[in-house]
Amino acid sequence: MNHIKQLLALLRFQLGISPFIMILPLVFGTPYLLPFLGPSMLHDFHPTLGLVVQNQNMWLVGFFGILLLAPEVMGSGDANAAWSAGLEFLLTRPVDRRIVLRARSVVYYSLVLALPLAACLSAFESPVLRVTEFQKEAHQEVLDRMPGSIAEEKSNTITIPNGNTMVQGWRLWVFMCIAIGTQVLVYLVYPLRYRRFICWGAFAVIIFVPLATALVRIREGGSFSPKETLFFGFVAHQPLCWVGAIAALILVQLWCESRFSRMEQ
């Protein structure tokens, strides 16, 4: 049986293992849904660039990443029938080990990237972004670093012709990078005895690092957070960022498949 048939069979089965995962795109993509919740409230409101580029749900991508890519890592280890991830069941069926992992990756990346990708594509229809920067330095930096941006007369608002496309592309890129990082972490620690604790520890770090950077920013001042600075870097080197992310995705996937196929269960 060829790999595509195996993959399709496993994908169908995967949805049966945990039907609730179908709601995950909504969980990951809450920021995309906010504008639909209260159009009147958001009408004529132009947030700062910092607000536009941030996404509080990144840690969810990591958290659900572990549950989707290697649920047995977070499990109790005793293969409880009711909540078993079914790995032993699948590995004793006629499938190649690496295809089992590939099916999990396909589900994970599809769920994580579905909404950002849709938003990215729809941004081509309304590419213009308007942001408001009240701080003088921040206002000037946006004008300097966002190509084609124009300051509006007698206001702090800036119009960025392809700003929306860039922001949605940035979000998609960040989602992809977090997902790749999660996959690397999961399969690095997979064979370790204390893998569950390492993963929980990683979450603690992911959750608290933004808080720590925010505190540093407040204490030391400065117009932009590291995330905004990174966004400017992304804008300046978009082709390189995309090529790098796609190459990393392919290499990480191949590495994980190879590692997984050599691991015991």
Binding site: K5, L8, I17, S18, S84, G86, T92, P94, V95, E264
Partner: protein, 294 residues
Amino acid sequence: MTTDYPILAQNVSRAYDGPPVLRDMNLAVKQGSIYGFLGRNGAGKTTMIRMLAGLIKPHAGEVRVLGRDPFTSGAEERQWVGYMSEKGIIPGLVRVSNALKLGRDLYPQWDGALADSLIAKYDLSPRKRFMALSLGKQRLLGFVMAIAPRPKVLLLDEPAANLDVVARREILDDILRLIRDCGCTVLFSTHILSDIERVADEIGILAQGKVRASEPLDTLKDSIRQVRFFGFKNGLPAEDPPGSFRTVRGVDELIVTLRINADTTPESVARSWSCQYESRALSLEDIFVELSIH
């Protein structure tokens, strides 16, 4: 060798965190036979079966199923090996029908008619999720998933656990039927000795990390006997006879559990000790206990 013995393990050792569970273990299961695997809890039966299923690797020695290393074998080889785990390994939210669909999708030789007949016979509702089934029914579904591809090798880890007597007999009958139909080779572990006696052609008793005995039930019963030696003319001997598993010393008698072979028979031992003897056959349970604890 490969075709004669679809299941082979040679000098296999395996440890987890502590001392080895299996030590230089050898196992060879003949084509078309039903091999009953006996052992105490923690003796290494599940470890051996998981190794044969390709889930774990031996730390030393080699394992072969249908002539291939099961850990590295791909889909082509795996489709001929049926496996039923000791635990319910099908994910809890999966419906019975989804599990069967996966079987149909993955196994080119999946016998849908056999699967459907077993599902009806075991009264498994296709709409039910695995977690909603009773433990016994979960085992039965696991059995259907293992047997419906009509495998060449069937590995069953405690297939009768959590089953009532009727369901247990049904499973055993189905194993026998499968053997008759397609000459499948079966290895199954169990604690229920009556099951072994009912279906197994050959029995392996695993203790101290090794297969202590591996032979047909009748041969095993004939070759291991309990012998009472008495009427010693020269007093009780200090040494145990060769081939003895256990010796109980009385005031003027020895009760020896003895493996009988060409060199060691009750007669030859009695002759060398200048005494008389009485020999009695042991039940499988007695043999199992003798081999397991000594």
